[in-house]
Symmetry: C2
Subunit: 646 residues, 2 copies
């Protein structure tokens, strides 16, 4: 009998509600700011003030002129006008900025004063230079009356000495720095930034920049968590990605716990490593683990611990799960340690056009992309799964489905929490099948001052979205078996087709696979493959144009591997290159990128379905132009622009 | 004859419209990003991507399991159910994360696989561990069917090799860092940050942290501009505050221009220094000054130059003017040099309850504070003048009045541009006369989980705002001459008074002023002062309670200085301390802070007018409690809580 793997750990979790998990974590930690430190004015942007600041001086520190002109006694010029100007003797000094007046102002006199100059004793107003002239006898001619106090900023009128200037807890920006500088403070007490250890664990992790071993993946959680810590007022201390070596992991975790204010682990995706990590966390100090398993989706495996007064958190291994749990549960606590105010969430309302199923009993976060459509603002769920990291960048925010709901019904007007407060709505929304050629076209939209967002929904998903008015363009490549033509037969009434490009499809195999050495074309290669029961194929998903071609080639046969049905050319090429399959049908650029042999079969048509009465006709025109402008780039990628196709 | 001061420079300006000034600046500079540099993943937060990034690998790089369970051939378990489970033989390996499968999966078998493990050859689905059991004979019991592809993430399904992952111009945050890490990129090309020289000029400037000379002020523009540069993607290079020394200033400006990508000067408030600066800018290279004088309020003296391809800007000296012109005119150009996207402004609509006069022919920015009132959201203009730096912190944003308007009429529904995207509406809005004692009370509101904003409008301004429902509390200290009592006679029907505290008022004089040496009380001191025509008083503004007392004391006399009428106790004390006047009436804590002699006159009552039917009764109750809790702090400040007053 083989060794039974340790795979059932989830069964031992006591899954807590989100609220209960947070309550236990907070009760065990009692989070509060860690302490104060002195920071200089030049290092304050983004820091949080630790104490109320009272102004140590009046600002301005003296009564000063706010114009260029002449200090006077207002009573002297109370009757002055253009018709009846008043003559004043000029005093023998000019009050510039930064110079103290030497002479008191006597009745019937005026003293030249610059903006910012201190008002001399005896003056109670300033006449603007524009309302004066110099007489031939050297006296000043004042042609406009001024009221007492006019054009004077009195001492303390901006900030009075003793007044509270800024309050503890204020996040410091340029405005606050100006206030501190104005009262002469060169440094202030701010909350110390928590030093937070970031540890990734798992044999499968490779640091970015290193070559990727077979079966390994790059450590993305470490860099994401480090960046998210920076965005939440903490200093990340990177301990790198640690393999599943008990001694090394324990030594690293002990050092991190001893030297940092908090420890964040992310468990790779390996449960074996997880077991080890949980055991070590349990040994770092009381009270230890307070929650392991939280009714969140994504994020159920989250583990929260407090060891000797410091938070120790094990985030789920999948990036999306890690980030949602970090932001929802961990960041608020770390912000408190950092003295940062609660994160101000920006939300808006949008219609979710499709039904979103949800697990009863778990609070579920669903990422959405926003689009302004003919039918209003729409939030489109991005269903890439918690293993995805691209979902985050395509999403504008997320909707939350209550633990008591089994689904969010289609057309719900949902509250969307934005990832960043500034929502940039793209000019063109593109939903359908993705192609690297599309990237080349989108890259040229910038020259037309247009932005686009592309979401991969597959050809049929894109057509459905276009039909509902949720996107502007649907890139498709669907073969109609009845007519043997691509794309056009799929259009609904009221849709047009913008020609795109052709992508040469063919049979891919490893170059060192002797079985295909003699195959001169696809039919001979397929015959060879079918003759060998050890020869595994990789298929494509139902609905793909390529799948229809494959079924035609197989003529009813269902050889081994037939049920292996990935959704993309890239997955087919990867399966063959990595030996999980021996042949499949994919496009030539992808075969080339994977170093595979390629027997051409025929061109797939990649075109764009569009409404005949589009929401933004000028943007659609620009998109047509961008396709034409991208012709050379498309050819360099191995595609044939439709305009140049036979 | 005295030397005529050089004060008329504004008359030589050719004032351009805002649009014309921007157009000339942009035409002369042709701003574009400065260049690319390589930055490591850990240094990317807030940087701007310089090139489109195509994924160099598929993510995931192989077909992987998204659950803990058993890799199978879906066809084998197509009929499995609780009632009719399917038995499979277990293969002799467990596929952990990071380990390459050694064995191909044959029909009728299953291989244990962990979440993230690579799918073995021959498998096309994964059964979750929860849907399996181990039979006594060591075989796997599968009690749930799986579809082909189920629980598998196919290679490239998240990011396909060659796909554009991120586009040039993207501002990088945690999400983007995760994507770059996931495809193994340890560094990327970002736009280089412009190095921008920051120079303050003026004899009157003192660096924060240094003692303040008489007639000098602290340099706040230097620190504000440096921080605003950081907030706009630039690296500030501080050249400090330079006195009006032609040789030093020219050397500094030449070095700044030679070594930095841009130069920002702020001219103190001195026009003499200004003349010098303009001349030097003119000599730094072609084309030189392109706009000098822009029809903006505040901000008219703004000077824009381009010298040998680098922007050189002279900001107005007053902090508010400097910041509005920086953000409106200069920041957009610097953001382009930094490769940063246009700043996304967040705006909202609010009613401006009062008429705001505006200069015809100048685009005017008026700072406003927002409040949620009984009559909806109100934007209250903060009329502190361009010399103010506190206005910035009390304001939530600003309204813009068109150059063609002479005023914004009262009750305009205006668009408010927010300074920060997150608007925090305070629980209590306090408008009226300010007192450092009020700061002590507000400091205690935090313990009641309340926030407050206090705006200084004077007692009568506060009462008017309360009458209009624009604030919750109006702190007032107004003597009714008819009854000789404070505050209560001023209330309108429907207002109540919350008792505050008493502030001892008295006559202040310099301790070394021999004339007051023999004065035993205020009447004898006033008699002494009136007897000496060289003895200058400082009065208070009309409407102040203290003014009524002063007029009673003077009994109709109007001695020298009577028309010098500042609006605060602090200004009175500063005028006496700095020798601009010899006596005045102020409160004792302010006299003490300024080191002045004090002859007590009588207590001023500082109380809070409030609506009898307040918008937020619980917050008002908390405020009453906070006054009681602040009793000791008030006494330490020299005040007498009303509850302890005779």
């Amino acid at each position: 009998m083989t060794e039974r793997p340790s795979l059932d750990q989830d069964q031992f979790l006591t899954v807590l509600s989100r609220e209960e998990a947070v309550a236990r974590f907070v009760a065990a930690l009692q989070p509060k700011p860690l302490g104060l430190e002195i920071a200089a004015l030049s290092d304050l942007v983004g820091r949080v003030l630790g104490r109320d600041i009272a102004a140590p001086v009046d600002t301005p520190p003296f009564d000063r002129s706010v114009v260029d002109g002449f200090a006077v006694s207002a009573a002297d010029v109370a009757q002055a006008s253009e018709a009846a100007p008043v003559m004043l003797a000029l005093n023998g000094e000019t009050i510039a900025c930064g110079t103290l007046p030497r002479l008191a102002l006597a009745a019937g006199t005026a003293t030249p004063i610059a903006t910012g100059g201190p008002i001399p004793r005896g003056a109670d107003a300033v006449v603007m230079v524009e309302h004066t002239n110099l007489a031939a006898d050297g006296r000043l001619v004042v042609s406009r009356a001024v009221a007492p106090g006019q054009n004077i900023a009195f001492a303390g009128s901006d900030i009075a000495r003793g007044e509270t200037l800024l309050r503890a807890g204020t996040v410091i920006g340029a405005r606050e720095i100006g206030m501190l500088a104005a009262v002469g403070l060169a440094e202030v007490e701010v909350w110390r930034k928590p030093h937070v250890a970031v540890i990734s664990t798992g044999d499968e992790l490779v640091a970015p920049g290193q070559p990727l071993r077979p079966a390994a993946i790059y450590d993305s959680n470490g860099p994401i968590v480090a960046a998210a810590l920076q965005e939440n007022g903490c200093d990340p201390i990177r301990f790198g990605a640690i393999a599943d070596d008990a001694a090394l992991l324990e030594a690293t975790m002990r050092e991190a716990h001893a030297t940092c204010d908090a420890v964040i682990l992310s468990g790779g995706t390996s449960k074996g490593a997880g077991d080890l990590t949980y055991r070590i966390v349990g040994s770092l100090g009381a009270p230890g683990i307070v929650a392991h398993g939280v009714a969140l989706k994504p994020g159920k495996p989250l583990c929260l611990a407090v060891c000797e007064g410091k938070p120790v958190v094990i985030l789920p291994g999948f990036p999306t799960s890690a980030m949602f749990t970090f932001h929802d549960i961990v960041a608020p606590v770390l912000r408190t340690l950092a003295g940062h105010p609660e994160r101000a969430e920006v939300t808006l309302t949008a219609r979710v056009p499709v039904r979103v199923p949800s697990d009863l009993g778990r609070t579920e976060f669903v990422m959405v992309a926003l689009a302004e459509t003919a039918s209003g603002r729409v939030a489109y769920p991005i269903g890439k799964g918690s293993g995805s990291v691209t979902a985050f960048s395509q999403a504008d925010g997320f909707v939350t489905i209550d633990a008591l709901s089994e689904a969010m019904p289609a057309d719900t007007e949902a509250e969307v929490t934005l990832f960043t407060p500034h929502l940039t709505v793209p000019d063109l929304v593109i939903m359908g099948s993705h192609c690297v050629g599309l990237d080349a076209v989108i890259a040229r939209l910038g020259a037309h001052s247009l932005t686009a967002r592309s979401l991969s929904l597959g050809s049929l998903g894109g057509l459905a979205a276009l039909r509902r008015g949720e996107c502007d363009l649907a890139p498709i490549h669907v073969l109609d078996p009845a007519t043997g033509t691509y794309n056009r037969p799929l259009l609904s009434p009221g849709m047009d087709l913008i020609p795109g490009w052709r992508r040469m499809q063919g049979l891919v195999h490893r170059l060192d696979d002797r079985r295909f050495a003699g195959a001169v074309d696809v039919p001979t290669a397929v015959a060879t493959a079918l003759a060998d029961p050890a020869c595994l194929m990789v298929n494509r998903n139902q609905g793909a144009g390529t799948r229809i071609l494959i079924d035609q080639l197989l003529a009813g046969a269902k050889p081994p591997g037939y049920w292996n049905q990935p959704r993309s050319h890239n997955a087919v090429a990867a399966a063959v290159a990595q030996g999980r399959a021996d042949w499949g049908i994919a496009i030539k650029p992808v075969a080339d990128a994977n170093g595979l042999g390629f027997l051409p079969l025929g061109p797939e048509h990649y075109d764009f379905a569009v409404s005949a009465a589009p929401r933004a006709p000028a943007a659609i025109d620009a998109f047509r132009k961008a396709i034409a402008e991208a012709a050379d780039a498309l050819k360099a990628l191995g595609f044939i622009p439709a305009s140049e196709a036979p």
